[in-house]
């Protein structure tokens, strides 16, 4: 089954995610300016700065469930906008999936993403092709499950997730928004990439980097978003 993924890697993952979002704040703002209210970049940056603080403060957390719950609570109170309750629910629900405490195996990791996705979908009631973050997260989780079923390594499973997330994100350009603020634009939303689908892509991009490297740093990044 390969090496287990530890809480240290989870911490590294979310720190990388926070940094990637902050680097991309203006990009996310531009996307939300085209089809929303221009606040997704600011909302996410505010959430990520709080997350960075929180991760510094409770660097002692030893349990993955507790860690994910703390991430969720931080995002709920600091992001605002639709992304706050949505990402909050993703991590809150992920926190309820089974772990080995300080680590997870690949089956558990995949299940954790599945729990998060199901929670997110219950919360926002969006389907695939509604032009939301679901269009990134759902294919990514499905790709993880398929790669897992094919008995692939963690690196392959997470690379498959990243690739599917990337395709899903790009696919939002072609479709019309059915949920969230962008849906007010109807067909005018076509031709623009969804901001939430983009911030969600970074979750998988950084997961592929941080959850598969076992030494202190591993930040080969792909800026394709």
């Amino acid at each position: 089954m390969g090496r287990e993924i530890t809480i240290f890697q989870f911490r590294r993952w979310l720190l990388a995610y926070a940094a990637r979002i902050i680097e991309n704040e203006s990009h996310l703002t531009e996307l939300d300016t085209a089809i929303g209210d221009a606040d997704h970049g600011v909302n996410m940056r505010r959430g990520m700065e709080k997350l960075q603080e929180r991760l510094q403060e409770d660097a002692q957390t030893e349990d993955i469930g507790t860690f994910l719950r703390s991430v969720a609570m931080t995002l709920i109170s600091a992001v605002g906008g639709a992304a706050g309750p949505l990402y909050g629910t993703f991590f809150l629900r992920a926190a309820t999936s089974p772990t080995n405490g300080r680590s997870v195996d690949l089956i558990q990791l995949t299940q954790m993403f599945r729990y998060g996705l199901d929670g997110l979908q219950q919360r926002g009631k969006a389907q695939a092709d509604d032009k939301t973050m679901i269009d990134t997260i759902q294919p990514a989780v499905e790709a993880m499950e398929a790669a897992l079923a094919a008995r692939q390594s963690a690196a392959v499973v997470l690379a498959a997730a990243r690739q599917a997330a990337h395709l899903g994100m790009k696919h939002t350009i072609e479709i019309e928004a059915k949920k969230g603020r962008a849906s007010y634009l109807g067909p005018h939303s076509i031709g623009h990439q969804d901001p939430g689908a983009t911030s969600a892509y970074f979750l998988f991009e950084t997961a592929a980097e941080a959850l598969t490297t076992f030494n202190s740093s591993g930040n080969s990044s792909e800026r394709a978003a």
Binding site: A78, G80, A82, G84, P85, L86
Partner: protein, 136 residues
């Protein structure tokens, strides 16, 4: 007597609606507000934990009615309800009423000691009362 919670993306809007509603309600009706984010009052947004605290603050055995503004306020309020203990959750209702009219009507009816469902029904029907009759 039930309690009321005003939820808005804006702390200022929540405060304003709170004042309008409080004026209509007697002293017995507990009204609380959850506007903006706990971490940043200036930022526009809703915060499930702040909503949860507002519900706890006005908790009444007869229940609590939550009135919300637009969009993701609903998602945050649903989350807050999920965080409540089961026996409280059953006595907590999210209203479809328009925020301003609904809060005023709800405060009035809550002040009369009406039960949760009745207060909500009155608040939701606030939408069907015309404000202005065109062309007369």
């Amino acid at each position: 007597m039930i309690g009321l919670v005003i939820v808005s993306h804006s702390a200022k809007l929540a405060q304003g609606v709170y004042e309008l509603a409080a004026q209509m309600a007697g002293d017995q009706v507990g009204i609380s507000q959850a506007g903006g984010l706990a971490d940043d009052c200036e930022a526009l947004g809703t915060d499930a934990q702040k909503i949860l605290s507002a519900i706890e603050e006005v908790w009444r055995q007869d229940g609590v009615l939550v009135l919300m503004d637009v969009g993701s306020a609903v998602m945050s309020a649903e989350m807050a309800l999920e965080m409540l203990p089961e026996e409280r959750r059953q006595k907590c209702l999210l209203s479809n009423a328009p925020l301003v009219e609904g809060a005023i009507v709800a405060a009035l009816h809550a002040g009369l000691g009406e039960p949760l469902q009745a207060v909500n029904a009155a608040a939701e029907s606030a939408l069907s009362v015309p404000k202005y009759c065109r062309g007369q």
